[in-house]
Assembly symmetry: C2
DNA sequence: CATTCTTAATAGTCTGACATCTGACGTTCG
DNA sequence: CGAACGTCAGATGTCAGACTATTAAGAATG
């Protein structure tokens, strides 16, 4: 038994607790939450702290607050797991109820190109591990992946054994991947990749070229994923600003 | 002189004020903001209110807060105007410093398909205006658009004259488009559209199929935009959840 | 010189109070 | 009877001040 299980800030824990409670059906959609006074008592935090948590939840669209009325649980988003939610390819295949797999085409230590260096800046790098894989769902090839990882982050031997590069990288470095800047590009036909994915000539691919960063903004992984558009569909909630 | 200029909640005004100050260079990138105590004094609000504002700014990635150290202005938006920011095609072309234009191919009142009805649900519709246009930037064709608008929202005559369907629709209905659910799809070669956009056979297109909603969630416009991928680039900040 | 201690500054949290808004109910008056 | 108004309770919004936890940097120590 540790003295202190959770050293993170209180308001973050409160956010998670409330999200959990909504998830678990303790607070129902469209229903009013207990008043701030009651909630702060039952959560064991001050009203000020609770309010910071509720602000964020409101900002995230989880709840709606109305002055003089109360705080209400928003109906579930219809549009979850859009493209703005970052997930590993393994995770995406898992989520669709299929069995993820990998076929290694190559895994080499190569010299970083100028573009690589620019992308990974300000981290200095000379050699990078370049991994080419075909990702499969129920044995069928669906994604072609080119991943580049700075040499010092993970030994190349580990890379070869990994099924999910994502979690291997996280386990090994102890850092969690927090976000990725992703460029979206359509590919009509790719001389090399399309045949590998068993694509008909008219089957287009969607290329997501992503620079992954740790939660503290350290560049960790540059990957180019070519998705068969008939196997994956992406959507996004675009908001007017 | 009104009794009261701004009836919105204080913390919202504080957020805007701080954003303005950052915009205007009063607070510089990477620099530390004044302490919460000082800031609350200079803004004339309580520390609690200021903190709610700072929380949101942190959540939005505008600032970073470090316990015991201070609040810092984040270096800035490498990632602005990603795909999650909804903008009309006219707006996008404008933003890139080019002259937007439209070429009408057709504008007819047609019967809604079953799929249309499903998309626009729960609004009931029978006939919809279907508009096909080629959007140009500096006279060059860059986007092919198919827009569908429920008949009752806007007379078809108005549609034909409109350069920006987006703003015409907003002006006419008095409702502002708030967001759009967008499906992302790569198109390799389109028999009809590719030639219209003067595309080489290997030039892929990016199709954004969007259902636009007003701020109060009323479906207003269904549009399919085929972008020349060499003329537009989209990116998105994907966050781990 | 390296390590530890002290201290100042700052964000995090708590308490209790008052202000303002909303919705519901009851009263008044035409 | 019905519409307008008044009142009130309960909720979120805002405030002031105090205390805690964390960090960084300088001082003291070995």
């Amino acid at each position: 038994m540790s003295i202190r299980q959770d050293t993170r800030h209180l308001y973050l824990q409160v956010i998670e607790q409330i999200k959990r409670d909504i998830e678990n059906g303790i607070y129902l959609e469209k229903q009013k939450l207990p008043s701030e006074f009651q909630l702060s008592k039952s959560l064991g935090v001050s009203r000020a702290t609770l309010r910071e948590a509720l602000r964020i939840l409101e900002e995230d669209g989880v709840v709606t607050r109305r002055h003089g009325v109360g705080t209400f649980v928003n109906p579930k988003p219809l549009f979850t797991s859009g493209i703005e939610e970052l997930n590993s390819v393994t995770g995406m295949i898992n989520d669709s109820g299929m069995l993820p797999g990998s076929q290694y085409l190559s895994a080499d230590l190569v010299e970083a190109t100028e573009e690589d260096k620019k992308r990974f800046a300000p981290v200095e790098l000379h050699n990078i591990a370049k991994v080419e894989r075909v990702r499969t769902a129920d044995e069928q090839p669906v994604v072609f992946c080119v991943d580049k990882i700075p040499e010092h982050l993970i030994p190349i031997d580990h890379v070869r054994e990994a099924d999910s590069l994502f979690s291997t990288l996280e386990d090994y470095t102890g850092k969690r991947i927090g976000y990725a800047v992703t460029h979206i590009e359509p590919i009509g036909y790719h001389e090399r990749i399309s045949p590998i994915l068993n694509c008909e000539p008219d089957q287009a691919l969607l290329l997501l070229k992503q620079m992954h960063y740790s939660e503290d903004d350290v560049p960790m992984l540059l990957s180019s994923n070519y998705f068969r558009a008939d196997k994956f569909s992406f959507h996004v909630l675009r908001k007017r600003v």
